[in-house]
Symmetry: C2
Subunit: 338 residues, 2 copies
């Protein structure tokens, strides 16, 4: 577990887990059972950890206030809500090493469970955060869902646009990472005072980690062994979603063969008609064409750029134990693909 | 159309519609198409009308500010979001005289469409309302979804509790009605000043109209002709949801026959095993048993109590055109069952 070496963060995350458990237990019945099942599965709790680390950096390592613990829990509830609804949207069968909720409890219950967590997130933030942070949250959620909509429409996308890809992954991951840091830093500054420039630095760290993290996630989806990621390989490709390595390769000089194979795979709509065997062969072809055309190396270089940006910002933070934790965490999150 | 006689309200509702259309057009693609389709269907727009009427009562009939128009639109977006998700949860095939979105665009798209509207509601309120109203909104949404969860669990409910029924319909309808009035009254008071007691009276009017309205809705679901309501009759009963007339009858002296028939119908789980013919016969039996045991009359009396309460509060409002509009509107909404 990623937090074994950072006991001070793990301790605070236990408090976050207690709030989450309290929240999901309240409605009772089948839905509480389903949510408890999901939130007690092993999870990294990255986003609340970001909030906690940001708060500690702002206060020089002081214990995190109960208010900020609740805000950190709210962010995780938002993340879990979007996972539950994403799994319905993407028809994913598994989540966090178990069945996804819509598989175990049906789509109808899963819709309500996600809605409930969304509303609890907004409620906790409205109760415990500063009003301007509640405003930021709702704008962020609109942005996140718009990106998902763009990804859903992505199956019908024509052309290979790096700009559109970046826009999508900012919404999918970087917005919430940045918000997690921002919430911790700005709310701690309200409690204890603190440097507004540090809030801005931490927000940028979250943004850069988020973009780097998602590029690596997309690389692992295409090239990682399914044993390692716990997911069937190339899920994006199967759903007609184009990710950075594919887009970069399609924009290279050796693009023509790749595009022919991609047309064979098609988007979601085309899938049922494809025989399974041919699809697996086509996916193998895409992998080798993308690697050959430099799409894999190009995406790794892009992830590297964002990692370096995050590290540069981390060096600007006040020195201390939490700065070290954040540096090591970033290193670990962003070297997964190598 | 209900607003034909109240042109001053209809005019403001046109502004609300323009904001709604602007909001649903933004994401683009299939999802915008689906949402535009739904929001341009004929709808009463009751909730934004409540907000507008409350604001006008507070200001003595002044033109409603753009800020309040956006808040009124936000409430309608919330309502539409919950309709979209409800239709997935209840597997309803039609909505507002057309196909429901999950039927026309699939459950996956419908989940996202609902999420998008939820987030836009929170965002509009965060941007345009006072912070304490944003807090109220998120608490209200949690409450509304908890009630839905309770209704879903209701299929497995044992016993016939009027208290639990009332709790459910408050969450399902009265909370949002009360909030609609409260938002209009309190935000107008911020712009123009106004009596805080009037805010409280208007909130109570919303609550009482909401409870009365839902009791009547439930009566119409059981006894109304399907031609009139546009829905197949007795949908609650078919889904194992017990409503006031049934609960009152089951608590009466002549309860034993009714309970035997109810057991035959069962909840959702039992439905597929029932032959259609027997189910229709059993539903007919429930209707006559409920009427005979006084459940229908009892529920009508309960609706009447809430209608009277709303009317009493309306008489306490400042006199004027908007008070008259509200009185006539209430009369019309709550005499649907007679």
């Amino acid at each position: 577990m990623i937090w074994a070496e950072f006991p001070e963060i793990r301790r605070e995350l236990e408090r976050v887990k207690a709030v989450i458990l309290e929240e999901v237990t309240r409605p009772g019945g089948t839905l509480s059972r389903g949510l408890r099942d999901l939130v007690t599965r092993d999870a990294k709790l990255l986003r609340p950890a970001f909030t906690i680390i940001a708060a500690r950096i702002q206060t020089g390592g002081a214990a995190v206030s109960d208010r900020i613990i609740r805000i950190a829990a709210a962010i995780e509830l938002l993340h879990v809500a979007s996972l539950i609804h994403d799994d319905i949207v993407d028809e994913s069968a598994s989540r966090r090493g178990g069945a996804s909720l819509h598989v175990e409890y049906g789509s109808r219950a899963a819709v309500l469970m996600g809605d409930y967590l969304f509303s609890r997130c907004f409620s906790l933030v409205a109760d415990h955060a500063q009003p301007e942070n509640a405003t930021l949250l709702s704008a962020a959620v609109s942005h996140i869902i718009s990106s998902e909509i763009a990804e859903t429409n992505g199956g019908q996308e024509t052309g290979f646009s790096v700009r559109r890809y970046m826009h999508r992954i900012v919404g999918k991951t970087a917005v919430l990472f940045a918000l997690s840091f921002h919430f911790g830093a700005s709310e701690a500054a309200r409690d204890e005072g603190g440097d507004p420039r540090t809030v801005e630095i931490l927000r940028r760290i979250g943004y850069n980690i988020g973009v780097g993290f998602q590029i690596i996630d997309d690389l692992l989806d295409l090239f990682g062994s399914s044993r390692r990621t716990g997911k069937p390989g190339a899920t994006d490709l199967r759903q007609g979603v184009l990710t950075l390595p594919v887009i970069l390769a399609a924009n290279s000089a050796q693009r023509s063969r790749l595009i022919r194979v991609l047309q064979k795979i098609g988007g979601r709509a085309a899938q049922p008609r494809l025989l399974r065997f041919w699809q697996e062969r086509a996916i193998e072809r895409v992998r080798s064409e993308v690697a050959e055309a430099g799409g894999r190396a190009g995406a790794m270089a892009a992830a590297e750029i964002y990692t370096r940006r995050a590290e540069r910002e981390i060096r600007r933070l006040p020195r201390g134990r939490d700065q070290v934790i954040l540096r090591e965490l970033t290193e670990r999150l962003l070297s997964r693909a190598s």
